[in-house]
């Protein structure tokens, strides 16, 4: 679990289904247990952002061939930075990372804006046949 001096890393693999989201929540509990120095505000914002992206993968990614989309999340806490990489084997996704604001009474469309406000950086790329998201937030 410990990757380098002072760093904590956790990885969760699984089919991109709701059960994987439960495992990602569980991984955060372990991450915060192993990295007690991360302030609560930073924990909440980072976990909120990562769960949004993981949920986006479960909801919107479609398989390329037979079998389910496989997804992976890698979480890392290395002072003073929290980082996450989420990738999946699904068909290429295109997501607007500069979304227009939605109406107050819209029932969807807030996820990416929420992520952008909760972390310092967010990117999406196609790498090695996988949709690959990276998020980072520095704690103070």
């Amino acid at each position: 679990m410990t990757a380098a001096e002072g760093a904590v890393e956790l990885r969760v693999d699984g089919p991109a289904e709701p059960g994987w989201l439960d495992e990602v929540h569980g991984a955060f509990e372990r991450l915060w247990g192993a990295a007690p120095g991360v302030p609560e505000l930073d924990r909440m914002r980072f976990e909120t952002a990562v769960i949004e992206i993981a949920t986006n993968i479960v909801r919107h990614t479609t398989p390329v061939g037979p079998g389910p989309v496989e997804a992976t999340v890698l979480l890392r806490a290395r002072a003073p930075r929290l980082e996450a990489e989420l990738s999946d084997t699904g068909a290429p996704v295109r997501v607007d990372l500069d979304p227009a604001p939605v109406d107050d009474l819209a029932e969807s469309g807030r996820g990416i804006a929420l992520v952008l406000r909760a972390v310092d950086s967010l990117s999406l790329a196609r790498e090695g046949g996988r949709n690959t998201w990276r998020l980072a937030r520095d704690w103070s």
């Binding site: 914002r45 909120t48 107050d104 009474l105 819209a106 996820g111």
Partner: protein, 111 residues
């Protein structure tokens, strides 16, 4: 998520225990719609035991608000914790779903 409902004259109080995320959003929205259809058009969602909210769960609350308003009522949230408040603030939806300190404040507000 576990959902329990207290029903009063014209009022339903829904207690959400656990995570209000994608997996639970549909169930919450259906429960609000059921209460509104039965004439309990003031719906208070007690989030005191809600560990985690995401944009899907927020969408269900907004959907419930729409249903309640369409029937002449309202949907109010109460007892939000730190993570729920974070999501409301980062989405600026605390303007629309203003958190009440407790359930009775939410039920009694005559606005």
């Amino acid at each position: 998520m576990e959902l329990t409902t207290d029903q009063r004259e014209g009022v339903a109080v829904l207690h959400v225990t656990g995570r209000l995320t994608m997996a639970a959003a549909g169930e919450l929205k259906a429960a609000v719609d059921r209460e509104v259809a039965a004439g309990r058009t003031l719906v208070v969602v007690d989030l005191g035991d809600t560990a985690f909210l995401d944009s899907s769960g927020l969408g269900a609350l907004v959907g419930g608000l729409r249903s309640a308003r369409a029937a002449g009522g309202d949907l109010r949230i109460a007892r939000v914790g730190a993570q729920v408040r974070t999501v409301l603030e980062l989405t600026t939806m605390d303007r629309v779903l203003r958190p009440y300190a407790d359930v009775e404040d939410a039920v009694g507000d005559r606005r």
